[in-house]
């Protein structure tokens, strides 16, 4: 099967004959997304077809029952539901008015049992991850642990033995709640409270899946842990919940990727990620978000950083219809550091409303935000960020750099920097630029033989290079490849 697809792809690459292209596409329907969105195929969907639409107390109770959760969690879920119902839809950012909460499936169980080997997974799910290249990354030891979430639950999970021996915990959040309840009683909802915002409340009510990571004192996890999220069902809501605790002096890099099929109607992804960075620990959290362009991606991510600790968000938003995401760092201990590198890519019909929040709550804390966005074909990229320096946070420093690149004249970019400073003894820097791909730049590259879309892709790749450089090699390549796919056919 894969051989046939490879062959068909080869044919498509080497022909411009519409007749030939049509025939290849008819024979290989899964290739129809080629050149636009690569991950747009869907598997057969028996689990999703029968799932209930809409949300009420019974849905919440049902999820909690199926997972045999402790009573306090059910209570918290119900509280989340209450806040979700009570809070108005936010109107300050992207347009969310078309989300139909009654049409969404809040929980889809695609397999009864979590697999320990890829072979144990149902064939269609396994094929999905094969095509995404996840098992390969694990085989090649590019990652030290893998979690794969399909619909609502984590279907595959593995961690390297040596890490386990050192006391590193990496498992899906549902299992972790059962096996390590003490962490959950202490930390679940401690960074992002149940009523923090409408979508965090919704997540608290119906959360399922996600990752739990605990890194003991002084342990350095040198190779990244990886999670992969996939939505298959139409109108599915995916609400994973991730909790990462890095104990004193430890280090971990967690990477997540996300894809979904292309359907006619929208899906919703609303995750909550809470991170606790203890004294002198360092956590790096990398996201390459590549949802298909019918997914609303409304995610709350926040870290609390103790004395001398460092939190780094590397946030790449390429897919989705609408993304609203502002990874936050609360710097609660002296000399704590926060850093966000954000890159957003808005194509036709997309609105990327992204940025970061840095809240300085202790003296001598420092933070920086570097945001780069590219808009093309009528897409809209907005930077929205908050820098808050509380009284007593003396000697703190922050710098914000946001650069926007417009590829054509019909796309849009805007910047909403909020700055709230309540202390005199601070250092602040803010730079913002908007640039357009110039005719002369394109001409220069084209006069060196590059086709117009290749030239455009080269300019865009160069623009985001400062962020791509921070990614592990295979992710940087992936990001470049995604950009090339996005740029194909972007010029006429």
């Amino acid at each position: 099967m894969t051989e046939q697809i490879a062959k068909a792809e080869e044919v498509l690459r080497n022909t411009n004959d519409p007749g030939v292209i049509q025939k290849v596409l008819d024979d290989n329907p899964e290739l129809k997304g080629l050149g636009t969105y690569e991950y747009g195929w869907s598997d057969s969907d028996t689990a999703g077809a029968t799932a209930k639409r809409g949300i009420d107390t019974s849905v919440v109770e049902d999820i909690s029952n199926k997972k045999s959760e402790p009573e306090w969690m059910l209570k918290l879920r119900k509280k989340g539901l209450k806040y979700f119902e009570r809070k108005p839809q936010p109107t300050w950012g992207a347009d969310l008015s078309e989300i139909d909460f009654d049409n969404i499936k809040y929980f889809v169980r695609s397999t009864e049992k979590q697999a320990q080997t890829w072979e144990d997974l149902p064939e269609d799910i396994r094929n999905t991850y094969e095509r995404l290249g996840i098992p390969e990354a694990e085989r090649e030891r590019l990652v030290s642990g893998v979690a794969a979430q399909y619909e609502s639950e984590v279907v595959y999970h593995q961690i390297r033995e040596d890490l386990e021996e050192q006391g590193v915990i990496f498992m899906d959040t549902d299992t972790a709640l059962k096996e390590h309840p003490e962490f959950f009683e202490e930390y679940f909802g401690s960074v992002i409270p149940v009523g923090d915002n409408k979508f965090a409340a919704l997540n608290t009510a119906v959360w399922s899946g996600g990752s739990f990571v605990y890194v003991p004192k002084g342990v350095h996890v040198e190779i990244p842990l990886q999670a992969y999220f996939r939505i298959n069902t139409e109108n599915m809501g995916q609400f994973e919940r991730t909790l990462i605790i890095a104990d004193e002096g430890s280090y971990v890099h967690y990477i997540e990727g996300c894809t979904a099929p292309i359907y006619n109607t929208d899906s919703l992804h609303s995750a909550v990620v809470e991170i606790i960075v203890r004294k002198n620990a360092r956590v790096r959290y990398t996201t390459i978000q590549n949802w298909s362009t019918n997914v609303y991606n409304l995610v709350t991510k926040r870290a609390i950083v103790d004395e001398g600790g460092t939190m780094e968000w590397i946030d790449g938003n390429i897919g989705s219809k609408v993304t609203m995401k502002y990874p936050a760092v609360y710097l609660t201990g002296e000399h704590a550091k926060g850093e966000t590198l954000s890159v957003a890519f808005a194509g036709a019909g997309q609105h990327q409303d992204t940025g970061s929040k840095m809240v300085h709550m202790a003296p001598n804390t420092s933070s920086s935000i570097v945001s780069k966005s590219v808009a093309r074909s009528g897409g809209r990229a907005s930077y929205r960020g908050l820098v808050q320096i509380n009284p007593e946070a003396k000697g703190s420093a922050n710098s914000v750099v946001c650069d926007a690149l417009l590829v054509d004249t019909i796309s849009k970019t805007d910047t909403y920097p909020y700055i709230d400073i309540r202390e005199d003894d601070v250092t602040l820097g803010h730079e913002a630029t908007v640039s357009k791909v110039s005719e002369d730049q394109l001409f220069y590259l084209m006069s060196r033989g590059l086709a117009e879309d290749e030239a455009m892709a080269m300019i865009v790749r160069g623009f985001i290079e400062p962020i791509a450089r921070e990614l592990p090699m295979e992710y940087a390549l992936e990001l470049n490849r995604l950009i090339e796919l996005q740029m194909e056919g972007s010029v006429g």
Binding site: S447, R448, E454, G462, P466
Partner: protein, 255 residues
């Protein structure tokens, strides 16, 4: 043996004040191995001719033809012209942030040849060419033209000319802004491309200085969008002595 023919070329651009005619009937024929110098005062249309041959979208060809071995160049995009063997060394090379010279040179070479160069020989070729042009090795890791001085940009243009091995090169005021040492190094690069590949050259300049290093077979005096006079190298000497005055219309001379 290749031929680049320019026949009765008329070019205009759109400005805020409306359409402006720049070239008013230029005809030139360049064969492989020939060096043609185009000299003329500011604003005579020399750079427009260079950009038009390379396919800059700002210039509108209203009449005439450009043929490369009989093929219609005007039908080709700028990228196709490069692939067909035309090269423009620009007067103001553009910066491309975030893209290293190494990456750029390899990508361009691949685009021009239609296949990627063999990595081992290519790396050596680039290194040798850089040494000959006295370009410091660390330029390979710097971003294209970013923060380069005027002279460094010009050397990098000639580096590309040597590596891409075009059939015809147009040098648009490559000599401007070069000190005497850089001028010699750059000229040697052009002469090498000439001798090694039989490249044909259209050398655009204000000054005769570069002609001490690159010896033209033909000299064309360009005035007001047209070739006012052509001759051999001796014409350049005359221009050096007397300037452009005798070619200018009385009205233009009075400005």
């Amino acid at each position: 043996m290749s031929t680049l023919e320019i026949k009765d070329l008329h070019v205009s651009i759109e400005t805020d004040q409306g359409t402006k005619d720049i070239l008013k009937g230029v005809s030139l024929t360049i064969n492989s191995g020939e060096i043609h110098a185009i000299m003329g005062p500011n604003g005579s249309g020399k750079s427009t001719l260079a950009s038009t041959i390379a396919g800059h979208p700002r210039y509108d060809v209203t009449k005439g033809e450009i043929l490369l071995d009989g093929e219609d160049v005007l039908e080709m995009g700028a990228d196709e012209r490069a692939q067909a063997g035309l090269f423009l060394a620009m007067q103001y090379p553009v910066e491309v942030p975030g893209v290293t010279m190494t990456n750029f040179l390899r990508t361009a070479k691949t685009a021009i040849e239609g296949e990627a160069p063999k990595l081992r020989t290519w790396t050596k070729e680039v290194k040798d060419a850089m040494e000959k042009l006295r370009i410091d090795a660390d330029f390979a890791n710097r971003n294209v033209n970013e923060g380069f001085s005027g002279g460094e940009k010009k050397r990098v243009e000639i580096l590309q000319l040597e590596l891409f091995k075009p059939k015809f090169a147009i040098l648009d005021e490559t000599d401007s802004g070069l000190d005497i040492d850089a001028l010699r190094v750059v000229s040697e690069g052009v002469n090498r491309a000439h001798e090694d590949n039989g490249m044909g050259t259209l050398l655009i300049t204000h000054y005769t200085r570069i002609l001490n290093y690159i010896k033209p077979s033909f000299v064309h005096v360009f005035v007001d969008g047209k070739v006012a006079e052509q001759g051999g190298p001796e014409l350049a000497d005359e221009l050096e002595a007397n300037g452009y005055d005798r070619f200018l219309t009385p009205a233009a001379a009075a400005v």
